[in-house]
């Protein structure tokens, strides 16, 4: 507890009046001193009581909208302070600290203020961390003041969520065919031209804008010059299917197989946005589809797709318990279903939480990837390309999924992570590993030979090179060659480029 200037002023008055007593030879000043002292002590006793009550009952919840993010991208953090009516006497400010490495954010944006009698307040701010790593937010700093402004108290308390900041792309990501890296940066035969006709947004006119782009109707309505920005929508509709079943958890804990798959999916999203290709998303969990997003060509739509891809984690293998586990798709689905018709505000808020989580939106049988492709055909008959990101565990299922995708006449791009390279990470390069890799390579080539199919391997570059050097004789080709450009119609994945496409 710290005295404020007001308390010091009252204390000075007490001392002054007490000092006047022997000087004047009258008892009246000391009576004044005792009166002010009595009031000062009463205020402090009341403050102690209210501070204890605030400390015991007020809570702060700090929730990032994603705990995993790419370096340099923003994550929204919402902090909410709540307290019961019985503890609402004090004035409170709660400041949420940010990691020291994060870009500076004004304190006013990170601060929550609760005036006396207010019981709930929140703030939302964006944190951008430019370097990779795991960062735990420090405990929020509380400043509490008694209602007369005489004394204050400060302490740190509250949740400390961890942010996992990953690099824009896996360091050693290799995407290629038969060990050859593929140049995948924006290879396209056709590029959109012109400014487009699809309305994107309105914005105020700036001096550097051409005058013929002024939207006169909006200008007349708003009283100042406005532009209507448009977007170029190409006719090339893509849909990316991302497999995030439990099997994708294989590999080192910090960079499991799914990280490589995620980078590819993000690369596809970034390249589609650059090219103006409408992009949809289907994600596949153990027991069904967890995300089905219709193709979008808007910048906010691409950002939402990337957010969903970043939020993906390999689905848990065990069934959820009877309680609520938002990190389990089945549990999130149940919650969403239960709250769908809720009339209460609390229910609606919970429903939004459940909707934002990866939940099963459609059940699938024994082959969810095939089910995802079938769904894709039904939902997006206009799609010209299907991108499948998975591993080679269940080759029959993948084969069937590709054949199903081909039935619509669309081209198919399959990105496969060889399981053998992740199972034996840093292990001995035995004959068995080489043999299993050869089996993978034969399978990939079989897929690649299908009409309108491009099958590519996705793997850690160094590990792939090691295994391929062992299997060089059987492969009958050099382990590493110059990167080859892909076919012009490739939906280019650009892992390194997705770092530059912030939300």
């Amino acid at each position: 507890m710290d005295p404020t200037r007001q308390t010091w002023t009252a204390a000075a008055i007490v001392v002054t009046l007490a000092g006047l007593t022997p000087l004047t030879g009258s008892l009246v000043p000391v009576v004044g001193a005792t009166t002010v002292s009595g009031w000062l002590l009463a205020v402090q006793i009341a403050a102690v009581r209210s501070f204890r009550s605030t400390a015991a009952t007020a809570t702060v919840q700090v929730d990032p909208d994603a705990t995993r993010m790419e370096a340099g991208t923003a994550v929204s953090i919402t902090a909410t302070v709540e307290r019961p009516d019985t503890a609402a006497e004090t004035a409170v400010t709660v400041t949420v600290p940010t990691p020291p490495v994060a870009e500076p954010i004004p304190e006013t944006e990170r601060r929550i203020e609760l005036a006396p009698s207010e019981t709930q307040a929140s703030t939302t701010f964006d944190v951008r961390v430019p370097v990779a790593g795991r960062f735990r937010l420090s405990k929020p700093i509380w400043l509490v003041m008694d209602p007369t402004g005489s004394v204050t108290e400060s302490y740190s308390r509250g949740s400390t969520p961890e942010l996992h900041v990953v690099e824009a792309a896996a360091r050693e990501l290799h995407v290629g065919r038969g060990g050859r890296e593929t140049w995948l940066f924006g290879e396209r035969a056709e590029r959109p031209s012109g400014t487009g006709i699809v309305p994107e947004r309105l914005r105020p006119y700036e001096q550097t804008d051409p005058a013929n782009r002024i939207d006169w109707k909006t200008t007349a309505r708003l009283g100042e010059p406005y532009l209507r920005e448009t977007n170029t929508q190409s006719g090339r509709v893509l849909r990316v299917l991302v497999d995030h079943r439990a099997k994708m958890r294989l590999g080192p804990a910090d960079e499991p197989m799914f990280e490589y798959a995620r980078d590819v999916a993000l690369g596809v999203a970034a390249t589609a946005q650059q090219s103006g290709d409408p992009l949809g998303l289907i994600t596949v969990g153990n027991d069904g589809l967890t995300n089905t997003v219709d193709p979008t060509y808007r910048s906010t739509g691409y950002a939402e797709l990337r957010r969903r891809i970043r939020a993906l984690e390999p689905t848990p293998t065990e069934q959820p318990g009877p309680g609520v586990e938002l990190d389990h798709p089945e549990s999130a689905r149940r919650l969403r279903f239960d709250l769908e018709a809720s009339d209460h505000e609390f229910g609606r808020v919970l429903h939004e939480f459940a909707t934002a989580s990866a939940a099963y939106v459609s059940a699938a049988g024994t082959q969810p990837l095939v089910r995802a492709v079938q769904y894709h055909h039904t939902a997006t008959p206009s799609a010209r390309s299907t991108v499948i990101v998975t591993d080679d565990t269940d080759r029959d299922e993948t084969w069937k999924a590709v054949r199903t995708a081909l039935q619509s006449g669309a081209s198919v791009f399959v990105f496969l992570t060889p399981r053998v390279l992740f199972e034996s990470e840093q292990g001995p390069h035995t004959e068995q590993v080489s043999e299993r890799y050869l089996q993978f390579e034969r399978y990939r080539r079989r897929l690649d030979r299908l009409d309108s199919v491009r099958a590519l391997e996705v793997a850690p570059a160094r590990r792939l090179a090691e295994v391929r050097s062992t299997a060089e004789d059987e492969l009958g080709e050099p382990s590493r060659a110059r990167p080859e450009p892909t076919n012009g119609s490739m939906p280019a994945t650009a892992p390194a480029s997705n770092g530059g496409s912030n939300d």
Binding site: I13, A18, V36, G38, Q61, S159
Partner: protein, 201 residues
Amino acid sequence: MTEPTLQPLFEQVSPARKWRVDGSSFVRLGGLCWIGAAGWIIGSELSLAIGIGLVVLGLVTRPVGTVAVGHAALVAIVPDLFTPSSLVSLGLFEGGLLMLLVSERPTRPVVALLAGSGAVALAATAGVVVVEFGLFAGSAFVVVLLAAVSALLYRYERLSVEQILERDREADSDPQPNVDRATTASEHRRETTGPQETTQS
């Protein structure tokens, strides 16, 4: 990381904002009327002038300042406290000044009661010390007593809040590994939001 400032808190409690009409305004107005009436009842020109002066001062300054000035001014009309008329004069003014003092926003009955009873107890004790040891000792006694009780209160508050925070930290560090994961949704909130539920459980 910059330390949070107190300014936003002061803006919320804002004790310096004078021209507001609420419950405290009526208490303050009542106190000022009492002081004015006391000046008039005592009957001398000086007491009337002091009464009017304090009313004007009370309208433009904070109550604690008016109370301090009031006691200094009362020396002129109440030279000693050993005659009944002096005691009546002081009592008349003192009631209004105390009422004015407790009108510091926000006026709370508990604080007013504590302030009144504390002032009476302190005055009685100080009176005994003055009678026994003289004026200087009585004055010093009031200052030392205020400092000592304040220091104890500060220490007690710090310890009790620390105790609450410590329970909070213990709850955070105890992951309760044997609890069924399905039942931990509400408990996760408990872990992350502090000891509200912990103290209740």
